[in-house]
């Protein structure tokens, strides 16, 4: 089975500072992978580069057999990639519901608004208030929810549990399981190792702009020492 998302020797720069030094990554269809790493190692940058937001980049990115390097930014989403940014990106000038409805549907199979509201009752209750008036955690929910509607095949989630109450984290874990059941592919960046361990099939460890280790969830017990050393888990 060939990979749905294939990244080879990806390099990226912010202005003159070189941040990614040859990232290799491959994600099979329906798989959930998790990128671990300390602060500032380039996890966010990896997602932003794959998404095409950071455009000063070299290497190869293939998604569903298509070369993504030449694609203009707005086509990336159309190709089926969905992105939840670390800083959430809730729009202040839009209401919660408008925020939710904003991203265009790119394919069939996204969740319906009812399903989403059932999943995140807070959002339903606050749906007419201004997007950025939500609490930090609610904004995080909204950012997730927004992308679930679009029917993207592959989600890039940047620390989706940051600032969330344990119940909600649990709920998101369940959502991810459910999505996996539907064949969704997920690239997760996480600091919350316990959460990641529950949902990921495979782990990458990132250090200074490179992937330094890769192992399936089954090998987790053997890798704990290394993780402890690298991350302080």
């Amino acid at each position: 089975m060939s990979a749905l998302l294939q990244v080879e020797n990806l390099q990226a720069w912010y202005g003159e500072s070189h941040v990614l030094h040859g990232v290799n990554l491959s994600v099979a269809e329906g798989e959930t992978i998790c990128i671990l790493g300390r602060n500032g190692m380039g996890k966010t940058t990896t997602l932003r580069t794959i998404m095409g937001i950071l455009r000063k980049r070299t290497g190869r990115i293939a998604f569903a057999g298509r070369d993504m390097m030449a694609l203009p930014l707005h086509q990336t989403a159309r190709a089926g990639l969905g992105f939840v940014p670390e800083e959430r990106g809730i729009f202040a000038s839009l209401s919660v519901e408008e925020n939710l409805m904003l991203p265009p549907r790119v394919a069939e199979g996204g969740m319906s608004v009812e399903e989403i509201y059932a999943l995140f009752p807070n959002l339903k209750e606050r749906r007419n208030s201004q997007g950025t008036k939500l609490s930090g955690g609610e904004q995080q929910m909204l950012a997730m929810a927004r992308i679930l509607r679009t029917g993207a095949r592959c989600l890039l989630l940047d620390e989706p549990t940051e600032g969330l109450a344990p119940v909600i984290i649990q709920a998101i874990g369940e959502v991810l399981q459910k999505l996996k059941g539907r064949g969704m592919t997920v690239v997760l960046v996480e600091q919350n190792f316990r959460f990641a361990a529950k949902v990921a099939d495979r782990f990458y460890l990132m250090d200074h702009g490179r992937m330094t280790a890769e192992f399936p969830v089954a090998e987790l017990p053997q890798q704990m020492d290394m993780l402890h050393r690298e991350l302080g888990v």
Binding site: Y14, G15, E16, S17
Partner: protein
């Protein structure tokens, strides 16, 4: 509206070890240039340049270091020009007293306008200052002492401290140069003071500054009044240079012009507004007596500058390798 700058490269080109000396040398050269300039160039033109450079620098004190875009600075410049002109012509005050009155008047106007506008931010701040300055314009239009469209004409330059005859162009020139240098020194000290540091941090993140215990309104008001007073200094001097105070100096176009000068040169650096003012004034001066259609050229120059030199001419220079070697940092 704080200026955003593009992504900043983390690996700064280290300043050359003798960068400080190089900068000092540049400043000394520039000063020497200004001292001998009237031998080669028309002194009135040079004085105009200095007056506007000071005005733009005063404006930049607010925009570049506090992030407040005032669209009403003509009030202080033109208002001070009227005050000085009136004091000198009608009351027979000495030039230095007249200028001081202009400065004080501008500071007072700044205090009033600032106190009203400072509670608002960004474009709203700009709009309130615009509105208030339009009212001041209307006042000037209607008040008898300004003589409406005619302005206060034939303002005597008088004798500085009762001694130096300012009617002699060279005396006047060196007087203006001294005022200009003094103004710049004040600005330089102001922005590089602990107070300036707080202004900078307010511009960067206002609520954080509040949470650290700073009453940001007062700092902003302080900067506003300072900027107004210095703009008034420029205006008062201008009235003596041209022996004239007119409505032109209190129109919104004048407020716009100083914004242009500052942005063209580059905000947030001391040199930027001076270069910007120099460019605009020279352009106007050159085009006024040439055959070119003035506005087309001015317009195109602005467009080109905005598109190609976004950090302003000086900002772009600082961002070049040479600029960084000389130890300049584009600060905005």
């Amino acid at each position: 509206m704080a200026a955003k700058s593009g992504p900043i490269p983390t690996d700064h080109v280290a300043a050359h070890p003798r960068a400080g000396q190089a900068q000092l040398l540049l400043v000394a050269l520039a000063l020497a240039g200004l001292v001998v300039a009237p031998m080669f160039l028309y002194p009135i033109f040079l004085m105009k340049l200095l007056a506007f450079a000071l005005f733009a620098s005063a404006f930049n004190l607010l925009l570049g270091y506090t992030g407040l875009l005032s669209f009403g600075h003509a009030t202080f410049f033109g208002g001070a020009a009227y005050f000085t002109a009136h004091a000198v012509k009608v009351w027979g005050w000495s030039p230095e007293a007249g200028i001081l009155l202009g400065v004080a008047g501008a500071a007072l106007l700044g205090l009033v306008m600032g106190a009203i506008a400072i509670r608002r931010q960004g474009i709203y701040f700009a709009m309130i200052t615009l509105a208030l300055s339009q009212m001041f314009f209307f006042f000037c239009l209607q008040a008898p002492f300004t003589h409406g469209e005619d302005g206060i004409q034939s303002v005597p330059r008088g004798h500085l401290f009762g001694l130096i005859d300012l009617n002699r162009p060279m005396n006047m020139y060196y007087f203006v140069l001294a005022v200009f240098v003094l103004g710049l020194l004040i600005i330089r000290r102001f922005v590089n003071s602990p107070f300036g540091m707080i202004l900078k941090s307010i511009r960067e993140n206002e609520s954080r500054a509040i949470s650290l215990g700073y009453s940001v309104q007062r700092y902003k008001l302080g900067a506003f009044v300072m900027s107004a007073a210095l703009a008034g200094l420029a205006g008062g001097v201008k009235a003596l240079i041209f022996q004239f105070a007119t409505l032109t100096d209190v129109t919104w176009q004048m407020s716009g012009e100083v914004i242009l000068m500052t942005l063209l040169g580059g905000i947030g650096s001391l040199l930027g507004p001076i270069v910007g003012a120099g460019l605009v004034v020279s352009l106007q001066n050159y085009l006024a007596t040439s055959d070119f259609p003035v506005t087309i050229i001015t317009g195109v120059v602005f467009m080109v500058c905005v598109l190609l030199f976004r950090r302003g001419l000086v900002g772009e220079f600082f961002a070049t390798r040479l600029g960084r070697k000389l130890g300049f940092r584009s600060e905005s």
